[in-house]
Amino acid sequence: MTQQHHKSNYRQKPNDSFIAPKKRHEGRLKDHISSLRRYVDNIKPNFVEGGRFAWLQSTFEAFESFLFVPDTTTKRGCQIRDAVDLKRAMITVVIALAPAMLFGMWNIGFQTSLHATDWPYELGTVASWWYCLWFGFLRMLPMLAVSYIVGLGIEFTFAQIRHHEVNEGFLVTGFLIPMIVPVTTPLWQLALATAFAVIIGKEAFGGTGMNFLNPALVARAFLFFAYPTRMSGDNVWIAADLWGTDAITSATPLAELAAGIQPSASALDMFIGTIPGSSCETSVIAILLGAIILLLTGIASWRIMFSVIVGGGLMGLLFNAIGANAYMQLPFYYHYLMGGFMFGAVFMATDPVTAAQTNTGKWIYGLLIGIFAVMLRVINPAYPEGMMLSILLMNCFAPLIDHCVVARNIKMRQKRALVKQKTTVL
């Protein structure tokens, strides 16, 4: 085909050399891009001050900077220059989330194939790998779409009203929200939760970078308290069919433990993630892959991740030592494998906006998240998943922790300076 194409080109224009077709192709791409550039430049006057669509300025800017790298540079003052900007950081997190997302999609299909009666394949037999993934993809797609459309719609509106630029902050939040809710969550509830999270959790405080609570977790907490029957219990984790919100009864390991029975899934199953649970947070392997990406690129803080895990382990060991009931006797590493512990530790606790900023503060913040998460799980069966509440709680305390760390540092340095002064006087 290509050869024919070359030949015909050659025949039509004998003056062209042999490499002409490739060059021409490149040229065409350039043409397209420059025509796009021309088009954008053409419509630009409509969107600046005084133009017909001046009220859509932020939206225009968002799309322009989405298409082309902005050519504006800082004009004054001393700035830190770095290849990593907000956009790149956010996209790295999305890439890090991809393994968990893909595994989650497959697991949605896999769990349904294990339990559904009207599954196209025979009951009990595991459906083909691709079919599971496709099933999960079709379930996740509307949730992702709803989360992005609602969230970005609100973000664009607020940016417009406030004459701000549209921020990239919602890229990750919009990706996270569908991942941490049960797959059977009705879309209107998801839309409401997203709207609540973005308006009350974020925009009320000034938008990206100003929120003190993790917006994705606010959305989940909203669903958890507003519609408890759709967010916990045994009836929400596995989708019965492709298009409905019907579900199949099946307990998560956390629910089983809260009810006082040992988890039916083995530790290995929980590690791989072939268990029922919120749509994309079951697989520890996939989450660890994401964690490696985040740590290698330096996007997330290793101090927080590590200290959350240490905190959870310490609390688990303490409960092992007390050993008053079956839940307390559970080996401590089970807490890492069940529910959203690892997902929270890697992707939620490390959110740079809502976490503690000082290095010492990060240790305290992370340790307390781990401790509270395990404590809530074991002590309070009304909240089988302690991770969400514990991260939100510590989000509230992060500024206080930072304040104390900074104040202590100032005090210590003052003390040191005073000692020095005294010795020099003497």
Partner: protein, 208 residues
């Protein structure tokens, strides 16, 4: 005349005791899960603020300044006990729903605030209107909050089913979060947000 009118109208908007002075928040959180208790509570507080303002204003020249708080408390407490007894006699169900919150009207900051800030320095007529206005302002916010909380949380208004059964059959669910006390504060917060956005002169720091 317009001055007197202002005394009643202004607390509904620009000097609202709840959204601008941020007083009386605790009861706003406690009694607004349903509309009916909120209405009764609003009426009770309005009566107490108006009458206590009137009485203290009449007594204002005879009260020694050093014991004025005690005198105010005696007046307010008497009125509150009367209201409480009245509710127990004629609206027992609501009285049970409101439980201790009727008694706690005594501690409502709006009442003491108006006595201290207004009744002690103004004539009885003006003071009565000021008390009435502030009571209305408080009730207004209470009713708005309770309206949304009952509608979204229970699907009812004043106990009558408002959201049709067909909605529930189509998958609609009552919002359990809005019944919880924190949501009362969030709704008040949203009202404050809207009010301040519409009146830029109310913002302390008016530059972006």
């Amino acid at each position: 005349m317009s001055n007197l009118k202002k005394l009643v109208i202004e607390p509904l908007r620009k000097t609202n005791p709840v959204t601008v002075l941020v007083l009386g928040i605790c009861s706003c959180l406690a009694v607004t899960a349903q509309l009916k208790p909120a209405l009764v509570m609003g009426a009770s507080v309005t009566i107490v603020t108006a009458l206590s303002n009137l009485i203290i204003s009449l007594l204002r020249k005879g009260i020694p300044s050093r014991i004025r708080i005690i005198v105010q408390l005696v007046v307010v407490a008497t009125l509150v006990i009367m209201i409480d007894q009245f509710l127990k006699a004629f609206a027992y169900e609501v009285s049970k729903q409101l439980s201790v919150y009727v008694g706690l009207i005594i501690t409502n900051c709006i009442i003491m605030g108006r006595l201290e800030a207004f009744a002690l320095s103004h004539g009885p007529g003006e003071s009565f209107l000021d008390g009435l206005g502030n009571g209305f302002g408080y009730s207004l916010i209470l009713i708005i909050v309770a309206f949304f909380r009952e509608l979204l949380g229970s699907g009812t208004l004043l106990g009558y089913q408002v959201i049709p059964q067909s909605f529930y059959e189509a998958g609609y669910q009552n919002n359990g979060l809005i019944i919880l006390p924190p949501m009362a504060l969030i709704v008040v917060g949203i009202i404050i947000w809207i009010q301040r956005t519409r009146n830029p002169e109310m913002q302390e720091n008016n530059q972006n």
